[in-house]
Amino acid sequence: MVKTENVTKHFRDQKKNLVKAVDGISLEAHPGQITGLLGVNGAGKTTLLRMLSTVIQPTSGRASVAGFDTVTDSEKVRASIGFMSNSTALYGRLTAQEVITYFGSLYGLDGDQLKARTSQVIEVLNIGPFAYRLCDKLSTGQKQRVSIARTILHDPPVLFFDEPTAGLDVVSSQVVMEFIEGVRAEGKTVIYCTHIMSEVERLCDKVAVIHDGRIQGEGSVDSLKTQTGETSLEKAFLRLVGFQSTEVAHVPSA
């Protein structure tokens, strides 16, 4: 389970102005559910995930992951999570198998347990044909499969996904989404950050619409539509974030 209580994160920008990247977010994500964080770029989704994964600390408020406080029990939090993002890369000069083994060992797996688990994820994700190839030489889809392997190798109860399909082709995106549906079925707690409406509609049991660092609306896809009186999630989202259509002057044709 993941829980945040009035979490904030404030930064100073280059001009020393205060930026409230996350401004009092409280939410809960439960096992066996996918909780979507939906927002435009810069809404605060990634900052929230970074706080939950202990890369950065909240300015105020509390957050817990798998029952551990993200500040006082950060090591236990990190041992309980898997994090996958399309922006995170692999070590180009290591083979796919070496990357998986390396991260497995950092997550405390060793000896026969590490070997067995590595073989298992390599088989399940069909990494075998390119397991001994350097990551620099892998295709985007192959890299994504190695990223998934790295994320689930230690069998964490909580998984974070930060726009995992961004930049992927249809087939690779499908692999990722099927994988996420699979981990939900295994009873894991999943937080899924995206700005792609179709993915939210397909995957998420619950959605939190984030804008300017705050939750603007929360609930199932259907309840968001009902709350806003809109027929589509896209329109409901735009209403929640306060988007107003502007008239664009037409350039006269020559």
């Binding site: 890369v55 922006s87 070496e98």
Partner: protein, 388 residues
């Protein structure tokens, strides 16, 4: 296995697969030393190989030409004007003009361009041959007068060397060059890859996946620093290996440089390694700290370029420290980098001293720890670590 060791092994593996590390830290020091020694040998031959010196002589029947012919490659020229023109045109280094003997003394004019080093060298060599003839003539005269051979000298000045430390020592070139190169290679060996280790990871977005593993950030710093220190050390050893190979290679002209091999005992090598170990740890820590502070590899490389100058300066000074008394003063052992180079110099001279060596190792360890502490602090600052 400790998490730091796991990180270190992974970094080492990655670095060994990087061409920049293989060439910059392993091949280049070896090749550079070999090339430098070979070049120095060639230059040394040029200035010491008397037979290779071509000297022009204006046609003469002077008996002095015979001893010159034994020593030099003598070529005749027709007239003085012709010889001077050859000097002006760069076709002759030195033209000797023998004048008529006055009262048993010969006058020889040496025409050469003093701005040309080859002319100057040839002049000194001929001067040496004539000095010997003068000394022999004086000795013969004194003998004929039944006087001792040194009767013509008001002062009989003789060297009486005092052996300090080991009787054997490295040659002057090795003493002035090796400490500088060992220190420099230790730094430059790690320089090429340092920016990749943290700044590069920020840029490629691999750092965050490492940060969300359960290991402590200090362990990440330790692992990366250890691996980089090993590369720095290997680079330095590669330079040393270059000198060892040269000492066995018998390159023409280097006989004087390697007359006693490298001139360092196995214990001396051990002391050099002892001096280098904390220094490479310091270099690795400071390189990691800079890499952690920088937003990206480009910014890191800018900082590292400036840092390079800070390292080069004391290293260069170590080459000429023997010309001053500074090397013997204890406070030098408190100056990072310079202290290591100065103590390596003492080892090469065959007179290492335990107190300065221990002071140097201690100072290097302390600054390595400070640099390591800074690197860890930077790793704990999220605004430094997450900015790109």
């Amino acid at each position: 296995m400790s998490p730091a060791l796991k990180v270190g092994i992974k970094e080492w593996k990655e670095m060994m697969r990087d061409k920049r590390v293989r060439s910059g830290a392993f091949v280049m020091p070896l090749v550079l030393v070999f090339m430098f020694v070979a070049l120095f040998g060639f230059m040394l031959s040029a200035v010491t190989d008397v037979k290779a010196q071509r000297v022009h002589v204006v046609k003469t029947d002077s008996p002095l030409v015979a001893p010159l012919k034994k020593a030099f490659d003598i070529k005749d020229v027709g007239t003085v004007a012709e010889g001077v023109k050859m000097v002006r045109d760069g076709k002759a280094r030195l033209v000797l003009e023998f004048q008529a003997s006055k009262g048993g003394q010969y006058t020889v004019l040496a025409h050469y361009d003093p701005k040309e080093q080859t002319g100057e060298v040839a002049f000194r060599m001929v001067q040496g041959v004539f000095s010997k003839i003068n000394e022999e003539a004086l000795r013969a005269f004194l003998k004929s007068q039944k006087l001792p051979a040194n009767a013509g000298q008001a002062i009989d000045f003789k060297a009486a060397p005092v052996v300090v430390g080991d009787a054997k020592s490295a040659s002057d070139l090795i003493v002035s060059l090796l400490p500088y190169l060992l220190v420099l290679f230790a730094f430059t060996g790690g320089l090429a890859i340092a920016s990749d280790l943290v700044a590069g990871e920020k840029e490629k977005n691999t750092l965050e996946t490492l940060l969300i593993t359960p290991i402590q950030r200090s362990q990440i710093v330790l692992g990366k620093t250890g691996a980089l220190a090993l590369v720095c050390f290997a680079s330095s050893l590669s330079g040393l290996l270059g000198f060892v190979i040269c000492s066995f290679a018998k390159i023409k002209g280097t006989e004087m440089i390697f007359k006693d091999g490298l001139g360092v005992s196995p214990v001396g090598i051990g002391v050099i390694i002892l001096l280098m170990l904390p220094l490479v740890l310091f270099f690795a820590s400071i390189l990691i700290a800079v890499s952690a502070y920088a937003k990206n590899t480009r910014e890191a490389q800018t900082y590292l370029g400036l840092l390079n100058l800070v390292v080069v300066l004391p290293a260069v000074f170590s080459q000429v420290i023997g010309l001053t008394d500074l090397g013997k003063q204890q406070w030098i052992n408190l100056v990072p980098i310079l202290n290591t180079a100065t103590n390596i110099r003492s080892v090469l001279l065959g007179k290492p001293e335990i107190v300065p060596i221990l002071m140097t190792v201690g100072v290097s360890l302390v600054i390595a720890l400070i640099a390591g502490w800074i690197a860890v602090k930077l790793f704990l600052r999220e605004e430094v670590l997450t900015r790109i």
